[in-house]
């Protein structure tokens, strides 16, 4: 299975086609009969793949580690496994150490290989990525491939994507039942799943770009699913266009890396080259910064996050699948996939600040703050997602790669569960998401939804021993913020994340208060939903509770399965340090979460802070802060009104005015000038001078003139006939001459 993983994305792609062709013929609201089984099979295959990955053989030397890479896909792997005979300076070192012949004196060139060699030809476990490819297209002397690269993180995402997708398919079959575009909905759900899996398995950066954009289109189509209302289609457009801005970064980043790695798109090769210092540091820095722009848009990082809350206009299961668990982590995945580029480009090791860490930690706090002023329960969760994605980006920025992926893993379950829970609430509260106006007291009416939501919330808040606790703790420890051993010492990130963790617990407590406690404030007849909705909720709650045990301190199963070890990933020698479990960090983060939650509990449930209520109405500073938050830091105003507004109206209008009056004016002016000149020549020269001379013989021409005039005034057909005759003549001449 490991070398045939292409089947996994191919299945939902087939599902998309089948749904498109036959979905409607199955009858109304039956399209899931195609989607669910196919995604189910993909899910099983993903589990099989994961099982085989776990059973893979370790203890390889560097040459063994590349033994499952198809020769034609990677220039670097070829060099390593052939002993580097044909390679240039840098690769020769690597090759010879891989043979174990020269020992430890070429450390700087190929540390990973050296490590393998020093430890006696491979007692250390190196991971063996499985790479397969086919020729895709050619340009010049180069061939570009399409293929799959399977390694720990790809396996992880395969499982996460298919699991959530399957649950969302099941959930949707009830949630959007009776929708007028039921078939379209399921078709795009399948297409999204296929695109995401394609992205995950991409063997090269070009393919990654393809997947990246395709998930964007599916997101566009699903956000705008109910496009009859303008706000929905506006949200869809906003999502697509904001992502396009980030895509410029992606495009340029990919291009820079392509040329930096000797005109090569291969992810494996780029990583190996970046990792052993064969790519110029400046180029790595430039491409990382460009790629960060792409991360900011796709993964909703501050200041390009504004599309993500608006994207909640789409159906809730879509928000759970695309805008919480999978698509928005594409940015995280991309950074993780090209980690050597960022690790060395941003000089993450031993440092205390870099762009990635700053973007992530600022997003974590600012996103969380915005969640406090939302009335719409989905928007709370959306800003929460923004904030949690900030955690992951920070983790990558501080060199805690495994922690980032681990948090991606746990977050996918509890956040998808929370979104589906919000959907369940709305499904029974008259399709409103306004938790302040239309919900309240749902604890008693919807017990299953309530309990699963509470579990998700506790996990998200990072309460021991639920999943969120373990992954968040690992990130905090990874910052090295308490002076513990870590890749760097990112105090700024540590403090920001601690604050964000406290906020998280607080706003989620607020959400639970509004939605589940107090009196019902809506006007419907809420009821618990059917099993197709509640079963996925329960499954996700269970996963969201226990997923953290995958990487228990000391055991670290997750780390061993997911984190690559080999020449294509930064190792200990380059400064990547795995932070150990730190009790002080764990206590501090728990205190922050409990403190935030407790404050919120006292404020909302106990109303212990009566003097604080309405504070923002009395205090000018607080009022200004609240207004700032309610206007989402005015970023939307800046983008929509100022930037887009000015391009769309004055700038475009000015360009068009220039086009019509200046450029076209010259053309028309030239035409008119020619007419005037012609008139002059005709009236003054022709009629007076030439014609005077001709007049004598003029009478002869009169009869033939009549003939000619027929052509001038005449019908198109005559023109056509004349024209055709000329062409035919040409043809005749040709035939005659050819003889």
């Amino acid at each position: 299975m490991l070398d045939k993983v292409w089947i996994i994305p191919a299945l939902p792609a087939l599902g998309f086609l089948l749904t498109l062709c036959f979905g409607k013929r199955l009858g109304p609201s039956r399209a899931h009969f195609i989607g669910i089984p196919i995604v189910g099979v993909a899910f099983v295959l993903a589990l099989v793949t994961a099982g085989q990955w776990m059973a893979r053989d370790g203890a390889l030397d560097e040459r063994g580690a590349v033994s499952d890479i198809q020769q034609s896909c990677s220039r670097e792997a070829t060099t390593i496994s052939s002993g580097g005979a044909a390679a240039g300076d840098g690769t020769a070192n690597e090759g010879s150490t891989a043979e174990g012949g020269t020992g430890g004196d070429v450390v700087s060139a190929a540390p990973e290989a050296t490590r393998a060699a020093e430890s006696g030809g491979g007692t250390e476990e190196l991971t063996r990525p499985v790479i397969r490819c086919l020729s895709w297209w050619h340009s010049g002397p180069l061939q570009f491939d399409i293929g799959t690269q399977l390694d720990g993180m790809a396996v992880l995402l395969l499982v996460v994507v298919t699991t959530i997708s399957l649950l969302v398919h099941v959930y949707s079959s009830d949630y959007v039942n009776g929708d007028r575009r039921y078939t379209h909905y399921f078709a795009f759900l399948s297409l999204f799943t296929a695109s995401m899996l394609f992205f995950v398995l991409a063997e090269n950066t070009l393919q990654m770009m393809v997947g990246w954009e395709l998930v964007g289109v599916c997101s566009f189509a699903l956000i705008g699913h109910w496009w009859e209302e303008k706000p929905n289609s506006d949200a869809a457009l906003k999502a697509f266009l904001t992502n396009r801005v980030g895509d410029v970064g992606l495009m340029i980043g990919v291009i820079v890396l392509f040329f930096a790695a000797g005109q090569n798109f291969s992810i494996y090769d780029i990583n190996v080259m970046a990792n052993n210092g064969r790519i110029n540091h400046t180029l790595l820095l430039v491409s990382s910064c460009c790629l960060i722009a792409a991360v900011m848009s796709k993964s909703g990082q501050f200041i390009l996050h504004t599309w993500l809350p608006d994207a909640m206009a789409g159906p809730t299961p879509v928000s759970a699948l695309i805008h919480a668990a999978t698509m928005v982590v594409a940015g995280i995945y991309m950074v993780g996939r090209l980690y050597p580029v960022f690790f060395h480009g941003l000089s993450i090791a031993g440092s205390s600040i870099n762009l990635l860490a700053v973007v992530g930690s600022v997003t974590a706090v600012f996103g969380a703050l915005l969640a406090f002023v939302q009335k719409d329960i989905k928007k709370v969760l959306a800003y929460s997602t923004v904030s949690q994605l900030g955690f992951m980006v920070t983790a990558l920025g501080v060199g805690a790669w495994t922690a980032a992926l681990f948090h991606l893993f746990t977050h996918a379950f509890f956040k998808a569960g929370l979104f589906l829970g919000a959907g369940s609430l709305s499904h029974s509260c008259g399709h409103s998401f306004d938790m302040v106006e239309d919900m309240g007291g749902m604890r008693k009416v919807m017990p299953r939804t309530f309990w699963t939501f509470v579990v998700g919330t506790l996990s998200l808040a990072g309460i021991f021993p639920l999943a969120g606790f373990w992954s968040k703790d690992e990130i905090l420890a990874g910052t090295g913020g308490l002076g513990n051993a870590a890749t760097g010492s990112y105090y700024f990130a540590f403090i920001m994340l601690l604050v964000a963790a406290a906020f998280t617990a607080a706003y989620m407590t607020r959400t639970i208060w509004y939605a589940f406690y107090g009196e019902y404030r809506g006007h419907g007849h809420p009821h618990e939903n059917g099993s197709r909705i509640t079963v996925p909720l329960v499954i996700l709650a269970v996963l969201g509770a226990i997923a953290g045990f995958a990487n228990l301190p000391g055991v670290l199963t997750f780390e061993h399965l997911v984190e690559p070890v080999g020449a294509y990933f930064p190792g200990h020698e380059q400064g990547l340090v795995h932070a150990d479990f730190n009790l002080a960090v764990a206590i501090l983060s728990t205190l922050a979460a409990v403190g935030g939650g407790l404050f919120s509990y006292l404020y909302y449930f106990r109303r212990s802070f009566k003097p604080l209520e309405g504070f923002s109405g009395r205090n000018r500073v607080a009022h200004a802060g609240k207004t700032l938050l309610e206007n989402k830091y005015y970023l939307d105003k800046l983008y929509t009104d100022i930037i887009v507004g000015s391009i769309k109206k004055p700038i475009a209008a000015a360009a068009y005015w220039v086009n019509q009056h200046v450029i076209d004016g010259v053309v028309n002016g030239a035409g008119k000038g020619a007419v005037v000149a012609g008139k002059f020549v005709y009236e003054k020269v022709d009629q007076l001078l030439v014609d005077g001379a001709v007049n004598g013989v003029g009478s002869v021409a009169e009869s033939s003139g009549g003939e000619l005039r027929r052509f001038q005034t005449g019908h198109v057909q005559q023109y056509a006939a004349l024209f055709f005759a000329a062409a035919a003549l040409l043809c005749g001449v040709f035939v005659l001459i050819l003889g």
Binding site: K230, L237, F734
Partner: protein
């Protein structure tokens, strides 16, 4: 390889023959005229398949299926037709498009009617287009290049919109003006090479003796001629008028194939014969191309008419093509050639859709449209698909013309200013954002939402008809096919592009 290969002349003149037959059949036999046109176009497709089979793909860089006959002895101009990897995609596109246009014409003959004349013009046009892509003699090329003008002039002038007179005259004269400078360059070239000839196979070698200064001048003449046809900023103003006024079929052919005469000419003739001139002109072309990308996009944003918007988008798309050409690298020229075909398919489709919307709503004013997805859902989704293709979505054909072109600007050919080209690369990349902006904005305004009151209960508004399906499905299929398997085209183009660059030491 014999010099008596009749395949190319046969394919080229077949439409003309059909037009000749139609000329003697009375005007009233409308059905018969349509059938003849269809038969001729399908005949072309069959011969095209023969061509595809007989083409030697391992030798795609070498002229094949050569016809080389004495033609105009006086000026040593010969009747030479050949086919290689550069010509083939455009030649096949042209062949394949004709039956689709004829089928679409089945129930879409624009006012004032007269299918006989209309189809005859299309057939004559076809001969001109096909001939241009295979002619390997400058004079022969020029003849075909000019043959194209007249039928299009009449199509716009007779079957066009309200301002057809202005648009057709402008189109005709503007292009003719360019041609005049172009033929001047051709003639100068003829006299400057050691052994006077118009043979395009021999000229690259012979022209190496011409000094760089002279090459720059000669290239300048061709630059104006081809630049107008492309059209490059600032020679583009004929295009929106011509497109907006032309009947649907005219717009489709214009966008899909005719503009490519300019870009093809650039690659094959201007760059192919005068590489040193090209090197000097490259920065100018690149800057104008990128201005075209941004400027065309801004022009689109200012439009209120759907068809005019699509026309302006051509200016932007051709900017990407010319940016690729100007880098003088294999990435750039491959991308340019791919982009030509992709743009032909995608923008051709967009014009088809615009025509069909016009048929149903009798207006293309964006403000008055809306809710197309409700009234004609399939038409709406096809429009959505084509806007996605047009904005360069990976996985569809448009991407492969756009991305490698941007990529090529990172490392242009030796001797070109790297800093300039990299700056242009970044600007061009931002052009893709604007492209997404105007296309999605168009789609939102026309397809999303609910129908305007004016058309809400209009019984004439129906979904895609059978003729439309037959005409469109091949194009939609090709957009997907080339998007997923770009190698199908790149692998044919690439040997020819490499040969071209090798010959020019680029």
């Amino acid at each position: 390889m014999t010099t008596n290969n009749w395949l190319l002349p046969t394919i080229t003149f077949l439409p003309l023959l059909a037009a000749a037959i139609m000329m003697v059949i009375p005007k009233g036999e409308e059905q018969l005229h349509k059938l003849i046109a269809l038969a001729a176009s399908l005949g072309g497709v069959v011969l095209g398949v023969v061509l595809l089979v007989r083409f030697d793909y391992s030798q795609a860089g070498v002229p094949q299926m050569v016809t080389d006959k004495s033609w105009i002895k006086l000026i040593n101009s010969r009747f030479i037709m050949t086919m290689d990897g550069l010509s083939m995609p455009l030649f096949i596109l042209t062949l394949a498009l004709l039956p689709l246009v004829v089928i679409y014409s089945w129930d879409h003959i624009p006012s004032p009617g007269n299918p006989k004349a209309f189809l005859m013009l299309i057939l004559v046009l076809q001969t001109g287009l096909l001939g241009s892509f295979v002619a390997e003699d400058l004079i022969l090329f020029f003849v075909f290049f000019e043959v194209v003008l007249l039928p299009m002039y009449f199509m716009i002038g007779v079957w066009g919109g309200e301002q057809r007179q202005y648009a057709s005259i402008k189109f005709f004269l503007y292009t003719l003006f360019g041609s005049a400078l172009m033929i001047l360059s051709f003639l100068a070239l003829y006299f400057l090479v050691p052994t006077p000839t118009f043979d395009m196979r021999a000229l690259p070698e012979l022209a190496k003796g011409i000094s760089t200064g002279t090459q720059v001048l000669l290239f300048g003449g061709m630059f104006v001629g081809f630049g107008i046809k492309v059209p490059m900023f600032p020679f583009h103003t004929w295009l929106p008028d011509a497109h907006t006024q032309a009947p649907t079929q005219g717009s489709v052919i214009l966008a899909a194939v005719m503009l490519k005469l300019g870009t093809y000419g650039f690659v094959r003739i201007a760059v192919g014969i005068l590489p040193e001139g090209a090197r000097k002109w490259a920065p100018v072309i690149a800057v104008l191309a990128v201005i075209g990308i941004i400027y065309g996009a801004l022009g689109c944003l200012a439009q209120t008419d759907m068809k005019r918007l699509i026309a302006f988008s051509s200016v932007a798309h051709m900017g990407f093509v010319m940016l690729g050409v100007s880098t003088l690298t294999h990435y750039g020229i491959n991308a340019a050639m791919f982009g030509m075909v992709a743009h032909g398919l995608i923008t051709g489709m967009l014009f088809f859709i615009a025509g069909s919307i016009k048929d149903r709503f009798h207006t293309l004013e964006i403000r008055r449209l809306g809710g197309l997805l409700i009234q004609a859902p399939r038409l709406g989704w096809i429009l959505g698909f084509c806007t996605m293709a047009s904005l360069g979505l990976p996985g569809l054909a448009g991407f492969w013309g756009e991305f490698p072109a941007i990529l090529s600007a990172y490392q242009p050919s030796d001797g070109l200013n790297v800093a300039l080209f990299r700056t242009l690369m970044v600007i061009a990349a931002f052009g893709t954002v604007l492209a997404a902006g105007y296309l999605l904005w168009l789609f939102q305004r026309t397809a999303f939402g609910t129908p305007t009151e004016e058309f809400a209960d209009d019984p004439h508004i129906h979904d895609v008809t059978l003729h439309e399906w037959v005409a469109w499905v091949p194009m939609l299929g090709a957009i997907v096919l080339f998007g997923i398997l770009p190698g199908l085209m790149f692998n044919v183009l690439n040997p020819a592009v490499e040969a071209l660059l090798r010959a020019g030491n680029l």
